[in-house]
Symmetry: C2
Subunit: 375 residues, 2 copies
């Protein structure tokens, strides 16, 4: 009874069907776990043999994203395909789309894979970003730095995450060296935004256009890696409403289907006005997001279940939060404390099944519902 | 870094290790899902090719429980083995125990596999059961029915579940026909207990002897199959305390490690006394139990996570309940309502990935936290 549909047709997925997931990391793993609760099978496609998601997948393909024979076999088995990361090659999604429904639409990937296109898209919706300028050569870098001022940040346009592919340009920084450190890839310069806090909105849009967002998350980073998410964020009601509205406008403009995360800076409030906090969009992640991991323990529907519901064409679930909540990433050697965390009655431990912990590697996370959960 | 230990030694399981599960149904599936959240891999051993637990297992063995070569290979891969059902053959657990730690101890299986031994064990602890008598021949059946009165129930001593292998002996029932319907297997007769409600205690005992129980569950059956569980049960505080105490005494007497379920009848209260409700133990299930499924959505630690923690020698988690909760089984064609349930904002849907629904088959369950969970 598989509910396969060809690209362009309505997707009619039923429990028992197989959902394809490109990427085999912890996001794919948690998607597969959420799918299993709904009776869905997962087929995980990833290049690395020891991908954490393989351990909970009904079917596994170990192959490069450019392996068309493997992609074709993968497409044959799935009712719909999705992905855990935004850097899936465009050729891969184009190839798949001829063979099975792919959600969210690969156009959303294109908008988020390139920092320049992403910022231009966001600005085109009348939503603020940090000031930026494209950099193709050392001269453009010098002009951009002169305009935006120091410090500013030189970033590769593509394939950056967790602070990789970024150089801070300070007073006295050698612009030639900074340009060469990019290795010749297209880049942009971004002005520095002074912010009171960093927040994200985790939202979902269904195939029917329904939109549901979780409460705004406040995020703390350490060395460019998410360290802690707290919900609710310290934001005025108006600020929170504005943040959710930004996520909605972005999702609608992309005709998005699935979970999307929008990272924002909250500008330090201007004490002289009664206006809500200014919001500046930093990044769009067309996928489930680390700052939404708290939803597994802290919301009626987790972001992972929500994404599976959306890509299957099912109704979205309630995003209602169960309490004040904190999610803390276990990075590198943090994971060695697993037995201590298990003894903490207020903590929910999540481990990703990664064999080797390295500095900066996300090994798991811990959620604490801040209620009186002793006992 | 596998933490394997030979039988008799302390079990030192670490995240990343493999836990073996005998049986591949929905209980094994939910155990594997809970283990995966803790970074554990699961190796599911089951005879049926389409076992629901295979879809979420890191390793799978399709083999008969008597296949010693397959069991030996299975034991090689796991740090500890456990089971989802009590009717694992004794020869299987004895064979495994020579090769890997097995939890809970197979002695607990022996006590629950045979209705006669089970009732004798419970009575030996000073805990009440329904009156009973063993039946080896038609004469013994006649004597037992004369003593216990009609109606009473003739039950096979072994391999009964969900009302299978049972015959009600009424006024006018032909005892010869009743005896023959057992097919010559050892049986017992049980007297009928008049009860106000049926409850169960889901509890866990850790390798260190720690004991934790969830709040008492009240269960409604339909055609001998669990239909609805509601927590809290309609029981006095004293009655609830007594029920948890019974579970503790049983777990301690068995030197039990893992989750155990104890089903009880609550005798109709005697209005003439102020005593707590009388409790009569019906059955011990040495495993996670259908009446504990609500713990996935309604308790800090699910019964499945709790069982994995216990068999791994890890500290038990909090059994704290999050609210008033109802769990409703989806039996047979009930599952066809999956899309309607997905639209119900107060419902959490769980499907077991079974391909074919048959009357009486447990296809999934729905949990409702009875709070104001609209939105």
């Amino acid at each position: 009874m598989p509910g396969r549909a060809t690209a362009g047709q309505a997707v009619a997925v039923r429990p028992g069907d197989m959902v394809g997931i490109l990427g085999g990391g912890q996001l794919a793993r948690m998607l597969a776990l959420a799918g299993a609760r709904l009776g869905l099978k997962s087929h995980v496609f990833a290049p690395e043999e020891d991908s954490p998601a393989f351990d909970v997948a009904a079917a596994r393909t170990v192959a490069d994203y450019g392996d068309e024979a493997a992609l074709a076999r993968f497409a044959e088995t799935v009712a719909v395909a999705t992905y855990e990361f935004e850097n899936v090659p465009a050729a891969t999604t184009a190839f798949l789309r001829e063979r099975c429904p792919v959600r969210p639409d690969p156009a959303a990937l294109a908008a988020s894979q390139d920092r320049l296109l992403e910022k231009e898209f966001i600005n085109s919706l009348g939503i603020a970003t940090a000031p930026f300028a494209p950099v193709e050569d050392p001269g453009a870098l010098a002009r951009a730095v002169a305009t935006l001022g120091r410090p500013c940040i030189l970033k590769a346009r593509r394939f950056g995450y967790d602070g990789k592919g970024q150089v801070l340009v300070r007073e006295g920084s050698d612009l030639g060296a900074a340009f060469r450190s990019m290795g010749g890839v297209p880049a942009i310069v971004e002005g520095i935004v002074t912010f009171a806090c960093e927040v994200s909105v985790i939202a979902a849009r269904g195939a029917d256009g329904a939109f549901r967002a979780y409460d705004v998350c406040e995020n703390l980073h350490d060395h460019h890696i998410l360290s802690v998410t707290q919900v609710p964020a310290r934001l005025s009601q108006e600020g929170a409403r504005a943040a959710l509205d930004i996520a909605r406008r972005i999702a609608e403009a992309l005709d998005y289907v699935g979970v999307v995360a929008v990272e924002m800076f909250v500008a330090a409030p201007d004490a002289s006005t009664a206006a809500a906090e200014a919001l500046i969009v930093n990044e769009i992640a067309p996928r489930v997001h680390n700052s939404g991991h708290w939803t597994i323990d802290g919301a009626v529907t987790s972001q992972f279940e929500q994404h599976m519901r959306a890509v299957c064409g099912w109704p979205l679930g309630s995003t209602r939060r169960l309490g004040a909540i904190e999610m803390r990433n276990l990075i590198g050697a943090d994971v060695d404390r697993w037995d201590e965390i298990l003894r903490d009655k207020s903590a929910k431990l999540h481990l990703y099944g990664k064999h080797v912990s390295r500095p900066g590697r996300k090994m798991g996370h811990v959620t604490r519902l801040r209620l009186d959960l002793t006992g």
